[in-house]
Symmetry: C2
Subunit: 263 residues, 2 copies
């Protein structure tokens, strides 16, 4: 049992929780909690850390069999945890590396019409995670993010995905402009949620190949990204509301596409 925070593994977990650079260099990230462990794809799991107090939990322990495991004292666990009320289980995972085909692959092969998200410079971890979770619910195929977006393996993002991180393919791209050519090649129309959009979002057709572009929380989309879009759409707002929360706008659009596709 590990009983000291000076243990090299523990120090490294703390680093991985705090620093995107460490996650990038090691190709690893951390997911906390029971659900995040139970839903993790087996080939992503690098090592499992269990607090002493959960070693009597038979469901957890039997699921942990077959993975490299470390038991740590409860006080060490609290210090390696990024949450206020740790659940006593933390999974060290290998970062997935997707290619473009993973994102529109399955549907494109079936002659279906992909539904994808494009996030430009999205910064809030909670928003990013909520978009992943809602995207899975709405039947989105994959998510593109510009390099300026929050690191998706940030522990706050991981938590907000509620497990969707394991199932939603994602790919970082240089910019929206550089992605545009690939979207065109796959006959995917790029719809940008924009405050100055001329068309109300529910008047457009999302049954064909569709990408929704969501911009930065404070600044919205860059001009280059807006210009790359095939269509600027607007979510009507009553009262004095200037904009919706970025994840909310994304969710409303994704569920409108899902509604149309259910027919």
């Amino acid at each position: 049992m590990i009983t000291s925070v000076n243990n090299g593994q523990i120090k490294n977990i703390i680093q991985l929780n705090q620093k995107a650079k460490a996650r990038r260099e090691q190709g690893l990230f951390v997911a906390e909690g029971r659900k995040m462990f139970l839903e993790a794809p087996a080939d992503w799991v690098s090592r499992v850390y269990l607090a002493e107090s959960v070693t009597g939990d038979t469901e957890l322990m039997s699921h942990a069999e077959g993975f490299p495991c470390e038991v740590v004292s409860d006080s060490v666990f609290r210090q390696m945890s990024d949450t206020q009320t740790p659940q006593g289980i933390l999974t060290l995972l290998k970062k997935p590396s997707y290619i473009e085909e993973d994102i529109w692959g399955s549907r494109a092969a079936d002659q279906m019409h992909p539904l994808v998200m494009v996030l430009e410079d999205l910064q809030d971890p909670g928003n990013a995670g909520t978009i992943f979770r809602t995207a899975e619910g709405a039947g989105v195929d994959g998510i593109f993010l510009t390099r300026t977006c929050v690191d998706i393996t940030n522990p706050k993002v991981i938590r907000s995905t509620m497990g969707s991180i394991y199932r939603m393919p994602f790919l970082y791209v240089e910019s929206v402009v550089s992605l545009k050519e690939q979207l065109e090649k796959h006959h995917i129309r790029l719809f940008a949620a924009h405050l100055q959009g001329r068309n109300t979002y529910d008047k457009e057709d999302y049954k064909g190949g569709t990408a929704f572009l969501i911009g930065n929380e404070g600044k919205g989309l860059t001009d280059q990204a807006s210009q790359a879009a095939d269509c600027l759409i607007r979510i009507p707002m009553n009262g004095q509301v200037e904009s919706l929360n970025a994840a909310m706008a994304a969710g409303i659009l994704m569920y409108e596409a899902a509604r149309q596709r259910r027919g």
Copy 2:
């Protein structure tokens, strides 16, 4: 200029930021930031606190004229602030007290059909604030909250409303069951977002008087609340998603109602 955190007013602001009990007893709450000051209804404002460093800001200062103001040193301001990067302006406000008629009043008088939200035991401040913001955008008339919900004058809720707190009438009620009679009297159907709902949400008609019921983030709705509903609706979810974020579910329902009402 106030230069000590031991000043009675400053100590009280810190109390009001931290304690729901203090807010309840004094009937006051705190809103931070420029936008929250500029949009505040004049008759809600009790006092304005300005950090020394913003006293050269002519827009702020001219808007602050006519309100009781205090200038505080920047270091005191940082300590009275609830945010990581304070904007140097904090408004002390009187809590509004709405009555039922404020919530469905204006539309009911015009023979229109109210659209209201009912939140049961909602706990996350960010979710509550985001629901207020999205509700204003979607044209909701007002929000009922059970007494077990988060205090809406919590500073994190206030921030997430992005000003909608000033414009969206709200009322705490004992329980969903106790509210039901009033909803019936006003011919408002109560739709509960429920994982076991039989009807897909977009197959129902929300053009008549409509209330959407949203439950606790972890536990969902109580049995009593579900049973009080006229109709259980379900937001379809693909993949392995068990539920959507509570604010997201609320937003998708409110915007579906708005879509139907635009015709």
